[in-house]
């Protein structure tokens, strides 16, 4: 049974986190299996941060099991505009998170499980971890054709990706985490992981798209709980520890002091969008106004998620250049965000000449600019 009584476990956990395991000496490792009670991607990423920063992993390794409600998670050095359909995500209330590890973009929902292997830097070894997962899968379902590639992906039937990997190395500790598709919504996955934004140029780490498949499709009896259970059992065997999963509440400050600050930080605009490596946009769009079609060319440089340089080319006779310059001037330095441009542009309108036609044109231009973000 995966679920234990959570109260008892939280107390046990606080004891475990406080005192190092004196009993485990020498080369054999102690181990700890933790499972999050939360489905909030920011809270769970914060737990990873916390364990990475605060736990002493000299004598024990930790396996952290977690699942999230719908979210897109980009790698540390990626560009969300390049990786996913932000507009669609906003409509569907799918969260965007940036993790601290490298690698590519993934879609999480409750049909996907996440595994994080914490070790000291010395013992950082991704292949071993993934082989453990494959072993657990085969024990659960012997007919599964799963194997680990040299890119640290796990493939099903030699072709479909069911797991992606990323890692974070700090001064003394490291973690390797990976996803595992059990029963995720493939339709939503493919639609949100397709970027509609054109004309982007950046050095951000690009994702490598792959065909995916759910394990559920191979064996309809499989559930996320079963997978978690199997992997935990394999891990317990490997590290010669009790097969005991400790539940952890990512909102509990007493067990994880400072965790709420970490959770908050992961949700700030400065982290999620502001950490995007410098990029440029060079694109155009057509606007239909009354009986004519206008071409507008836009060039922007975006650094730290803010518009550093902006150039909008609108036919002179359509909108007074002075107004256009006013927009450009105000966009410079502003966040590259649709909400920012909307509130900025509508506020500027208050101090523009009061002319309905002018207002309509202005709003049309701003609506189109907004689509770029």
């Amino acid at each position: 049974m995966v679920l234990q009584s959570s109260l008892k476990n939280c107390f046990q956990l606080s004891c475990v986190l406080r005192t190092p395991r004196a009993g485990f000496k020498g080369t054999s490792n102690g181990g700890l299996i933790l499972q999050s009670v939360s489905n909030d991607v920011y809270q769970n990423l914060a737990v990873e941060d916390w364990i990475h920063d605060h736990m002493n992993l000299e004598n024990q390794q930790v396996l952290f099991l977690w699942r999230n409600s719908p979210a897109v998670v980009i790698g540390r050095h990626q560009n969300p505009w390049q990786e996913c359909n932000l507009k669609l995500m906003r409509q569907k209330s799918i969260k965007l998170a940036r993790r601290r590890s490298g690698g590519g973009t993934v879609y999480h929902d409750l049909g996907n499980i996440n595994l994080t292997f914490f070790t000291t830097r010395k013992k950082y070894e991704r292949m071993e971890n993934l082989k453990l997962v494959v072993k657990a899968l085969k024990a659960l379902c012997p007919q599964l054709d799963v194997h680990v590639t040299d890119r640290y992906d796990i493939l099903l039937d030699r072709h479909y990706k069911i797991s992606g990997t990323a890692a974070k190395l700090g001064r003394t500790t490291a973690y390797h985490h990976c996803t595992l598709l059990c029963n995720a919504d493939k339709f939503v996955l493919s639609s949100v992981l397709k970027s509609p934004y054109k004309g982007l140029k950046s050095n951000a780490t690009p994702s490598v798209p792959s065909s995916v498949k759910n394990l559920f499709e191979e064996d309809p009896a499989l559930t996320c709980e079963m997978l978690l259970e199997a992997i935990a059992a394999e891990y317990a065997m490997r590290h010669q520890i009790d097969h005991h999963i400790t539940l952890i509440n990512p909102a509990d400050e007493t067990v994880l002091p400072g965790i709420n600050n970490k959770t908050q930080e992961l949700q700030t605009w400065e982290w999620v969008y502001g950490k995007t490596p410098k990029f440029s946009i060079s694109t155009y769009f057509n606007m239909v106004y009354k009986d004519s079609v206008l071409d507008v060319k836009v060039d922007m440089d975006v650094k730290h998620g803010r518009i550093e340089v902006c150039n909008i080319d609108v036919p002179e006779q359509w909108l007074p250049p002075a107004l256009c310059n006013e927009l450009v001037k105000n966009l410079t330095g502003s966040k590259f965000s649709p909400n920012e441009i909307t509130t900025l542009a509508t506020t500027l309108l208050r101090t523009c000449p009061q002319d309905d036609e002018l207002h309509n044109k202005w709003n049309l231009l701003c609506e189109n600019m907004r689509m770029l973000m």
Partner: protein
């Protein structure tokens, strides 16, 4: 500021350890050197030795900090982010940069205290393991700078910065600081660290000691040489005399590391600055009054469940907004706009009533369109839509433009009377305070419990006079104090 560093001896030199005291100009501190013997068992020597020069080197020795082994046989990485720039000072353990290799993101931290003199790579360049990453200038006038082996294995890095796990936290302290604590029988867990990441610094130990005995004590007699303390900080009693004398107040320097922070005003806030500056040009005049909402509160209580069955949350605002629109029908000049040259007034046909909303971004004012043809329920429904879009940061251009008159319900946060600022190109605005239960007299001279809300109007005095504002306010007030009267004038 330089922090304490410990230089390790080679096995030949009989376990001599050289400590250097942190000296910082803001904290008048001792600048001294002391040497002590230590047990070899206290330190774990690795078989990889590190050499050091004992001869004094002229100040500012540049050390090349090489990129250490990442593991898994990786030889090259891409530099993704620099956390420091040339000229910055760094302490041991500070993050220097973030590098990426094959889906792994690695934080590289400094091994030394000093000043960054050179970055060997630009962003997105490939960096090589074992080759110099940055040049750090260490103040060698303090002593020696060990030359490191080319490839540092994690075993060595563990040795160098030992941690003490206390209550599940790692207490960061350099070996020299730990030694000082140990010598003075101080538990690191009881000391408040003021360094980066709550690191315990030497000053923290000494401050802790000062608190205990009211004086700065030298280390215990285990040390071979007792450091000479500057006269101003010396306690009159001899160091070995543990008798409690009258504590001499030690001038503890107030260590406040806060700094002013300047940020540019950008985007939406910049636009607001422009709007408010334009608003300043409008001659505002204010008019305030109090409204007895007792009857309205009762009415709303009755209607709330009905609205709920239709999926709409009913607050007071829809009533305030509808009453305002009914008032504007009688006093259309309040729903007008003055052109830039102040030559023409445009009476707006639609009552697009703006509702000030406090969002994460700041003050946003979406408006409900054509209130003059909307029912109270329709207004409530529209408000719900605008509120949820507002909190999600997804309001559209249409929702945010075209407003003709504004109401601000600042009372939900607090306050009674305020002086609201008109939002151009409008000419009037009303701010509603909080609802308070207050005693009032009725017609018979009896005291009764009344639910009072204050309203503060501001209007453009160039085209609106006091009488107009007062009459509008009275009409609005009468609709709200006696909601049934609204029925007579509803279209």
């Amino acid at each position: 500021a330089f922090s304490v560093r410990e230089a390790r001896a080679s096995a030949r030199t009989a376990g001599v350890c050289v400590h250097h005291v942190r000296s910082c100009s803001s904290i008048q501190f001792i600048k001294s050197k002391y040497v002590c013997l230590f047990d070899k068992s206290a330190l774990k020597f690795s078989h990889q030795q590190r050499l050091f020069r004992t001869s004094a080197v002229s100040c500012g020795q540049i050390v090349q900090f090489k990129l250490s082994d990442i593991g898994e046989g990786i030889t090259e990485v891409t530099v993704k982010e620099w956390y420091i720039k040339e000229g910055d000072s760094v302490s041991q353990f500070d993050s220097i940069c973030e590098v990426q290799s094959d889906k792994a993101s690695v934080t590289i931290t400094s091994r030394y205290d000093g000043i960054i003199r050179k970055l060997h790579y630009n962003l997105d360049e490939i960096a090589y393991v074992g080759k110099p990453l940055v040049d750090i200038e260490i103040d060698a006038s303090k002593g020696v700078a060990p030359e490191e082996d080319v490839v540092e294995t994690p075993a060595m890095s563990h040795e160098e910065h030992t941690h003490q796990e206390i209550k599940g936290h790692k207490t960061l302290a350099t070996p020299a600081v730990r030694r000082l604590a140990m010598e003075n029988n101080i538990k690191l867990s009881e000391v408040v660290g003021t360094g980066k990441d709550n690191r315990i610094l030497k000053e923290d130990i000494l401050n802790y000691l000062a608190k205990q005995t009211g004086a700065i004590l030298p280390p215990s007699p285990k040390a071979e040489i007792i450091p000479p303390l500057p006269k101003s900080e010396t306690v009159p009693a001899a160091p070995k005399d543990k008798a409690r004398k009258i504590p001499v107040p030690v001038s503890r320097p107030i260590a406040f590391s806060g700094k002013d922070k300047t940020e540019a005003i950008t985007g939406f806030h910049k636009a607001m600055v422009k709007t408010m500056s334009a608003a300043l040009k409008i001659p505002h005049f204010g008019y305030c009054d109090e409204i007895d909402l007792t009857q309205l509160i009762q009415l709303r209580e009755e209607l709330k469940p009905l609205a709920q069955t239709r999926g709409v949350k009913l607050s007071f605002m829809p009533f305030f907004i509808k009453a305002a629109s009914l008032g504007l029908l009688q006093y259309p000049i309040l729903n007008a706009s003055l052109d830039e040259s102040c030559q023409n007034i445009t009476y707006k046909a639609s009552h697009n009533i703006g509702v000030a909303m406090d969002t994460e971004q700041g003050l946003i004012v979406p408006n409900v369109k054509n209130v003059q043809v909307c029912s109270v329920f329709e207004i409530a429904s529209e408000l719900n839509r605008l509120q949820s879009l507002g909190s999600a940061g997804q309001l559209g251009t249409n929702d945010l433009t075209g407003g003709t008159f504004t109401l601000s319900n600042i009372g939900t946060i607090g306050g009674t009377y305020t002086k609201p600022v008109i939002l151009p190109p409008e000419v009037a605005i009303g701010a509603l305070g909080k609802i308070q239960v207050l005693p009032r007299f009725n017609g018979k001279g009896e005291v009764f419990k009344a639910q009072i809300m204050n309203v503060s109007w501001s209007a453009d005095h160039r085209i609106i006079d006091g009488a107009t504002m007062a009459r509008f306010s009275n009409l609005w007030k009468s609709y709200l104090e006696n909601p049934a009267s609204m029925l007579l004038d509803l279209k």
